[in-house]
Amino acid sequence: MTWNEALLWLVLASSLITGLTIFFLPEERHRLRSTLNLAGAFAKLALIAIMLWGVLNEQQYETRYALLPGIDFALRADALAMLFVTLSAVLWLFTTIYAIGYLEGSPHRSRFFGFFSLCVTSTMGIAFAGNLFTFFLFYELLTLSTYPLVAHRGTDKALRAGNIYLGYTLAGGAVLLIGVIWLYSLLGNVEFAHGGVLSGLVPERHGELIVIFVLLIAGLGVKAALVPLHGWLPVAMVAPAPVSALLHAVAVVKAGAFGIVRVVYDVYGIEFAADLGLLLPLAIVASITIIYGSLRALAQDDLKRRLAFSTVSQVSYIALGVSLFGPIGTVGGLVHLVHQGIMKITLFFCAGNLAETLGIHKVSEMRGVGRRMPWTMAAFTVAAFGMIGVPPMAGFISKWYLGLGALNAQMPWVLGVLIASSVLNAAYFLPILYAAWFQPQRGPWPAEQPRGRFETDWRLLLPPLVTAALTLAVGLFAATLFSPLEWAQLIMTREYLR
């Protein structure tokens, strides 16, 4: 095995081995558990840094073995994979720090961190999957490893949420499986390749390809929370805050969105998908999701539910970008994969801080909280402005490229969707900010539990501050070498100018 092949396995192993070890750690060994978790997260980051440099310099990272005769288990790191992997690894580190602080003193932590690591491993596998078969393997593994996290608290509500989550994702996985096997039975093997692998198929098969596309997108759309397949997401909000952060920013919804990107670019090929007339319906579904999610978010008083509907809306920007034919739309969709992750995780960290420190769960309880927890609310504010798309934050870059992409693709109506969405984003975020900063506190906080020297435990405070800073940084320094925007442009050039 060459060093480049080993790197791929090592990236998976850095969280898989950690997770499996943690399962067998006794509950009270929290120091060892935290050390292991952080060591795994840092090791993964170091490995990924090496690979990033390699991918930029056209190094090949690929490893495979025959799982079935004729079907390989294949891992490959291309520029697109690295985008998702880097996002996941960076956010995993901060979520781990956050979760260690968040879960201090609560039961079943070995189980929690074990599945948490498995979940990250699955995400890595989804990113590195070199063919549709391997992708499906990790996609289902992700479903299975996140269920115990959603149901973690073991309350009736949590178990019911777990059920709903499973119902949606397993059904989605089944639909996806039909699409995948159908494609395999047509082609024999479906390796991901720039520009797609289907355009050579005889025209008589094109009808089947359209049906398969619908099956694949429906299967992936469950995790990506495309309307009307989004029902699990707001319900899954009962999970602990780090899990919500993980589900919404890194793992589950992104796995769905990333799958859509792979299917459109590397299975069908963007030009072939456009020829089949598949992009416009996808753009319409994405637009409906964007508007619908924002409208529902407006009406939620529960903070986490409001954020959840906001996720429904924001993740579809990625699908929207994918469906805009042309390089600029592609860049907009891809860069949003990263930007939405950074912004949304900040918001969930902050929501978790409010709930843990002051017992605040509702927007209506947030009056004056800016004075009590200024750092948390500052981070929240940065991320919320980013979501709205205020320059120079991350969200502005995404929306700018999406808008330009829409004009380039001769779909000016998409511009209307973007503007409407921004207005709605402002309408559900600004009242929160107004209440927190400008309204006086009314009565005592619902359940105040002071934690540590700062406004809350430092492990809860540091992660949102860092990710908020990142939200600013990726916007301000969008033109530097390893910024998400530059990387998305690299992917775009390799995808279009192959």
Partner: protein, 493 residues
């Protein structure tokens, strides 16, 4: 080194595979429960090594034929080992070993039935190995009957009224099944004057006689395999038996009659079977999947859930027949069906053993008494979940590979209705298995006490669960073995 290897390859492994368990049976019977218990693991390990040796030889040299006492067919008993037989032998030996390890500790705590468990298990495994290696329909009948009797004895082991009733029901079903099979054998011998599988395959001509034979033998074997709607005897027998027995019965015994059916359909009946007949078997399989899963969802006792799950999983095996009826799907269907049999064996044995530990620890069999298990027996619950992934057909597991191959066969042959059945079956399986997991995740009620268990009970189930996982990560190995002497030329799935 290479001379040692070639000497090992030259060993007549077929005799060892059958002889070892039977020798152990006699030893265990004569020297009593204690010695039976002590000798069990060495004997089981040796059996596994013999099966590995035979498989290595078959992989290296192709199918093996052995004439007992030097007399060939049609006069003497001829034994024949191809890839399919070897895979079944490996499965039997591996599951026998882990279940034996579990049983050593299981029966150490409760005395009922320990005396006869060891000799009966040895006999069961020996009969099963002989069945997999038999190459003529009469010898197959004899081994099938011996296997049935050993299995009935094991069900009756615990001794209570319920166990005896279940055993009696099982006995009647098994006897009726073998009787029908024997009638078929008699008709075949009368018409063609031979009992050997290979020669019968060459001589069978489509016609009323062939169809009668096919109907009789298929019905008899379907009864023994507990294919819906002939599954009435299975849940009480499998769900009520002692845990290691449940594992052996659900994982292995029903596979023997299925194996026989598979051999007959592909090697003897092939020229005479019709597409409607194959579709009928598929319809019954689909009925098993849906009805069995539904009943599993309705059970209150954990072991009964697992037993009904077997009824449902048997259904997938029978989808093989309609899927193989159309040329483009035949290979995927055959490989997928066999792989399903093997994966189910590992997953179901692991699941029964894990559930048995939970019941033992909680002291109650009801599903709502499982609270606190996730904290108390995490490894057993983890084994249950791993095995469950395979039964649901989700990756990474052997069950997923099997389902992948079967679905591929269905799509290749344009039989999309089986796709729907399989997908629905998978979702129903998830529903009844997650129901168990959900109860096990609940925090323990106040004042609930658990019995402490020896780690071996948890580890043996975990070993089998890892086996079902390994089948999903490295399918090319078992499939390569299966290809040796497969009933179609040069095929791969």
């Amino acid at each position: 080194m290479s001379t040692v290897l070639s000497a090992l390859l030259a060993v007549n492994w077929i005799s060892w595979v059958i002889g070892l368990p039977l020798t152990y049976t006699i030893a265990a019977f004569l020297s009593g429960a204690r010695a039976g218990r002590m000798l069990a693991l060495p004997a089981l390990v040796l059996s596994l090594l013999a099966a590995v040796g035979l498989s290595a030889r078959v992989l290296a040299q192709g199918p093996q034929r052995h004439m007992v006492g030097g007399w060939g067919a049609p006069l003497g008993i001829e034994l024949y080992a191809d890839g399919l037989a070897c895979l079944m032998l490996l499965m039997t030996a591996a599951i026998g070993l882990f279940t034996g390890w579990y049983a050593r500790h299981y029966f150490a705590r409760q005395d009922t039935g320990a005396t006869y468990f060891w000799p009966l298990t040895g006999f069961l495994l020996g009969a099963m190995n002989a069945l997999y290696l038999s190459a003529d329909v009469f010898n197959l009948y004899v081994t099938l009957e011996l296997l049935g009797l050993a299995a009935v004895g094991l069900v009756a082991l615990t001794g209570g009224a319920a166990a005896l009733a279940a055993a009696l029901r099982y006995l009647l079903a098994a006897l009726a099944g073998s009787l029908m099979y024997l009638l078929g054998v008699a008709l075949l011998y009368g018409a063609h004057g031979t009992l050997a599988l290979a020669e019968l395959g060459a001589r069978l001509v489509p016609g009323p006689l062939a169809w009668t034979v096919i109907a009789l033998m298929t019905l008899g074997l379907a009864l023994k395999t507990a294919l819906f709607p002939l599954h009435f005897w299975l849940p009480p027998a499998h769900g009520g038996a002692a845990t290691p027995v449940s594992a052996l019965l659900s994982a292995l015994v029903i596979k023997a009659s299925f194996y026989l059916l598979l051999r007959l359909w592909f090697e003897v009946f092939a020229p005479a079977v019709t597409i409607p007949a194959a579709q009928l078997l598929g319809v019954l399989g689909a009925g098993a999947i849906l009805w069995g899963s539904w009943l599993a969802l309705c059970q209150q006792k954990v072991k009964m859930i697992v037993a009904y799950s077997t009824v449902a999983q048997i259904g997938y095996l029978f989808l093989l027949f309609p899927l193989a009826a159309y040329a483009p799907g035949v290979e995927s269907a055959w490989y997928g069906g066999v792989y399903q049999a093997v994966s189910h064996a590992f997953a179901k044995a692991a699941m029964f053993l894990a559930v048995g530990s939970m019941v033992l620890a909680a002291g109650r069999e009801d599903i709502d008494q499982l609270d606190g298990i996730s904290a108390r027996l995490p490894l057993s619950l983890f084994s249950f979940a791993l095995a469950g992934i395979s039964l649901m057909g989700l990756p990474p597991s052997g069950g997923f590979i099997a389902k992948w191959l079967l679905l591929k066969a269905a799509l290749a042959g344009g039989q999309w209705w089986w796709v729907v059945v399989m997908i629905l079956g998978g979702l129903l399986t998830a529903a009844y298995l997650f129901r168990v997991l959900r109860h096990a995740f609940l925090p323990a009620r106040r004042g609930k006490r658990f019995r402490a268990l020896p780690p071996a009970l948890e580890l043996s189930a975990f070993g089998l669960a890892l086996g079902s996982l390994a089948l999903g990560l490295w399918a090319s190995g078992p499939l390569a073995l299966l290809r040796v002497g497969a009933p179609f030329a040069g095929a791969s799935p």
